[in-house]
C-alpha cells in the first residue's frame, strides 16, 4: 500500500462522520492504535514541544524502511499523530520526503496543523521528513 492509498483509506473512513464530535470520538479511538514510543526513547531529544501539548517522536530505519513511534499528553493530538504515523510509517525515506499529506485537509483537520495552534504537529511533520532526509543520506 502506498502513502497515497493509505491517505485515501483515511479520507473514506472519515467521510461517514459529518459531526465534529463524532470525528473527535473517532480520533480518540485511533489514538489507541498509536505505536507508543519506548520508555527509554521518551527523552528530551525526542520531544517536540508545542505550546499546549507535547509530542514525543522516534524513528527506526530497518531494511530500507522507516518506522515511527510516538506519544502525546493530549489525546486528540495523539489521534492525529496516530494518523500521520499510519500514513508515513513503513515507507522508504524517498517516499516520505515526497509525501504530500493532503488527507489532513480533506478530513477537516487542517486547522490543527496551523502554526497558531501550537500543538507541535507541524513541527512533527517537519521532524518526520528530517528523519527521512537523514536516513536517506545513510543509504
Amino acid at each position: 500500500m502506498t502513502i497515497k492509498d493509505r491517505q485515501q483509506d483515511i479520507v473514506e473512513e472519515f467521510e461517514i462522520y459529518d459531526d465534529w464530535m463524532d470525528k473527535y470520538s473517532y480520533l480518540i479511538e485511533l489514538s489507541k492504535d498509536l505505536p507508543i514510543i519506548n520508555e527509554k526513547d521518551r527523552k528530551e531529544e525526542n520531544l517536540i514541544n508545542g505550546c499546549q501539548s507535547k509530542v514525543w517522536l522516534d524513528a527506526k530505519f530497518t531494511d530500507g524502511k522507516i518506522s515511527f513511534s510516538a506519544d502525546s499528553d493530549a489525546i486528540i493530538t495523539k489521534g492525529i499523530v496516530a494518523l500521520l504515523i499510519r500514513v508515513l510509517s513503513e515507507s522508504t525515506p524517498q517516499e516520505i520526503i515526497d509525501a504530500d499529506l493532503h488527507f489532513i485537509d480533506k478530513i477537516g483537520l487542517k486547522e490543527n496543523l496551523s502554526p497558531t495552534r501550537s500543538n507541535g504537529l507541524l513541527s512533527m511533520i517537519k521532524q518526520m521528513k528530517l528523519y527521512a532526509i537523514a536516513f536517506k543520506s545513510k543509504e
Binding site: 465534529w20 464530535m21 473527535y24 480518540i28 505550546c51 493530549a74 489525546i75 486528540i76 493530538t77 501550537s118
Partner: protein
C-alpha cells in the same frame, strides 16, 4: 440604570455570530474583550473624516485629532482619578508600559545588588522585563509567594523587604486564577518602608473601580484591548514626581523640545514618553470605550460578573473530578480548572467545536502552573455581556468532554 443584558449584547456585533453553526459563546475575555459598536464606529469615523497627524499640523484636521487625542487622555485621567493628565502616558499596552518603567525607572533608580519584589502570581510580562533589568544592573528579584487558594501571603512581605528593595511590582488581579490581591495593604506596607509600587491593572480595570489616588500606587498600567478598546492601546499612569525624574524611554519625534547634534532637550510630560506618531485613533477609541463602560456603570458590571462567577463556580463544581485552581475569597469572573486526567488542550478543542471559546495552557504564568505542578488549565473568563445560559452550555459541553475522554 437597569442592567439590560439584551441591550448590552446588541451593542457588541460579534456576539450575534455563530461558529461551526453554533452561537458563539465567548469566554476568553481575560485574553481580550470584544468591542462595542460605538468603539468600532469611532475608529471608522475618524479615518473617514478627520485623520491627520497630531501635535504637528496647523490645519483643521490635525487640530481636531489632537484635541480628540488629548480629550481621551483626560477621560482616562478621570476614569482612574489621576491628579493630572500629565500623569497619563499612552503606550501600546500593559507589556509596553511595564517595559517603559523597567527601562526608564530601572536605569535611574536600580543599581547593583538592589532588589525588586515581584509576586508569584505575575504574568510573564511582569517578570521578564525585571529580569532583563536585573541582568543589566546586576540586581536581584525576590518573590512574594501565594497559598494553595491562590492568595498572596502578604505576611511574608515584611521578611522580603530590605534596605535594598527599590520597587515592588505586582498585579491587582491574577490573569490565570482571578485572585484580587490586597494591593492597598501592600502599598501601605511598601510606602511605610519608602518603597514605590507598580500595579499591573490589566485584569482589574475592566472589573472594578480603580482610583489611583486612593490606592496611592506609584505606577498603574493597563491595556486598552482588555477594556473593550482596540488592540495596541495602553496606559501608563505614574505619579508626576517619578515621571519627572525618569529619563525618556525611546527617542524620536514628539518627545523632544530642542534637537541639535550637540544636545537635545526633551518635551514636557506626558509627551516626553511618547516618541513617534502615537496610535491617536486607537487612543480616541480607548477614550470612547471608557465612556461606554462608565455609561453601563462599573458597579453594575461588577455585580453582574459576580453573579456569573458564583453561578459558574457552583455549576462547574457539580462535575465529578473537576478541580478549580484559584479559590481566593476575592476573585474576578475567572474560573481556571482541570478535569482530572483530561488534558486542557483536549477539553478546549471539544468546547471550541461546541461554539465555546476558552483559553487553555499556562496563560503566560508558568510559575503559577509550576506551583500547582500542572501543565496548564482551561480558563473560562466572563465579561458583563455573558449570561447564565451561556454557562449552562459550557457545563453541558464539559459533560460531553468527560463522556468522550473517560
Amino acid at each position: 440604570m437597569d442592567f439590560d443584558i439584551k441591550k448590552i449584547r446588541s451593542d457588541f456585533p460579534i456576539l450575534s455570530h455563530t461558529v461551526y453553526g453554533k452561537p458563539l459563546i465567548y469566554f476568553d475575555n481575560a485574553a481580550t474583550t470584544q468591542k462595542p459598536e460605538c468603539v468600532i464606529n469611532i475608529i471608522s469615523e475618524f479615518y473617514k473624516n478627520y485623520n491627520s497627524n497630531v501635535h504637528r499640523g496647523v490645519h483643521l484636521l490635525s487640530a481636531k485629532c489632537t484635541e480628540a487625542n488629548e480629550n481621551a487622555r483626560k477621560t482616562i485621567q478621570k476614569f482612574i482619578n489621576a491628579n493630572s493628565s500629565k500623569e497619563i502616558i499612552f503606550t501600546h499596552g500593559t507589556t509596553d508600559s511595564i517595559n517603559l518603567i523597567a527601562t526608564s525607572f530601572g536605569d535611574k533608580f536600580i543599581n547593583k545588588d538592589d532588589e525588586i519584589i515581584v509576586s508569584e502570581l505575575e504574568h510573564h510580562s511582569n517578570i521578564v522585563p525585571w529580569q532583563l533589568l536585573c541582568e543589566r544592573k546586576q540586581a536581584k528579584i525576590k518573590v512574594l509567594p501565594f497559598n494553595e487558594k491562590g492568595e498572596l501571603i502578604v505576611d511574608k512581605l515584611k521578611n522580603l523587604i530590605s534596605k535594598k528593595t527599590k520597587l515592588i511590582t505586582l498585579n491587582q488581579v491574577s490573569n490565570s486564577l482571578g485572585t484580587i490581591n490586597p494591593i492597598k495593604k501592600i502599598i501601605e506596607i511598601a510606602h511605610s518602608n519608602n518603597i514605590p509600587v507598580m500595579i499591573d491593572g490589566a485584569q482589574a480595570i475592566q472589573h472594578q473601580k480603580v482610583d489611583v489616588k486612593k490606592l496611592d500606587c506609584d505606577f498603574y498600567v493597563f491595556s486598552g484591548h482588555k477594556i473593550y478598546a482596540p488592540t495596541g492601546t495602553g496606559v501608563l499612569y505614574g505619579k508626576e514626581k517619578w515621571l519627572e525624574q525618569m529619563p525618556p524611554y525611546q527617542g524620536g519625534g514628539d518627545m523632544i523640545d530642542v534637537v541639535t547634534f550637540k544636545k537635545t532637550t526633551y518635551n514636557e510630560l506626558p509627551f516626553k514618553f511618547e516618541a513617534g506618531t502615537p496610535n491617536y485613533i486607537g487612543n480616541i477609541a480607548l477614550g470612547k470605550a471608557l465612556d461606554y463602560v462608565s455609561s453601563i456603570g462599573i458597579s453594575n458590571i461588577a455585580k453582574h460578573e459576580k453573579e456569573l462567577l458564583e453561578y459558574g463556580t457552583q455549576k462547574l463544581s457539580e462535575i465529578e473530578n473537576l478541580i478549580i485552581y484559584g479559590n481566593a475569597k476575592n476573585k474576578t469572573s475567572v474560573i481556571s480548572f482541570l478535569i482530572n486526567g483530561i488534558h486542557p488542550y483536549d477539553t478546549g478543542m471539544v468546547l471550541d467545536k461546541l461554539g465555546v471559546a476558552v483559553r487553555t495552557g499556562n496563560h503566560c504564568t508558568q510559575p503559577v502552573m509550576d506551583h500547582y505542578k500542572i501543565p496548564g488549565t482551561v480558563r473560562a473568563s466572563f465579561a458583563f455581556y455573558n449570561t447564565i445560559e451561556e454557562i449552562d452550555v459550557l457545563y453541558e459541553g464539559l459533560l460531553k468532554v468527560v463522556k468522550m475522554f473517560n
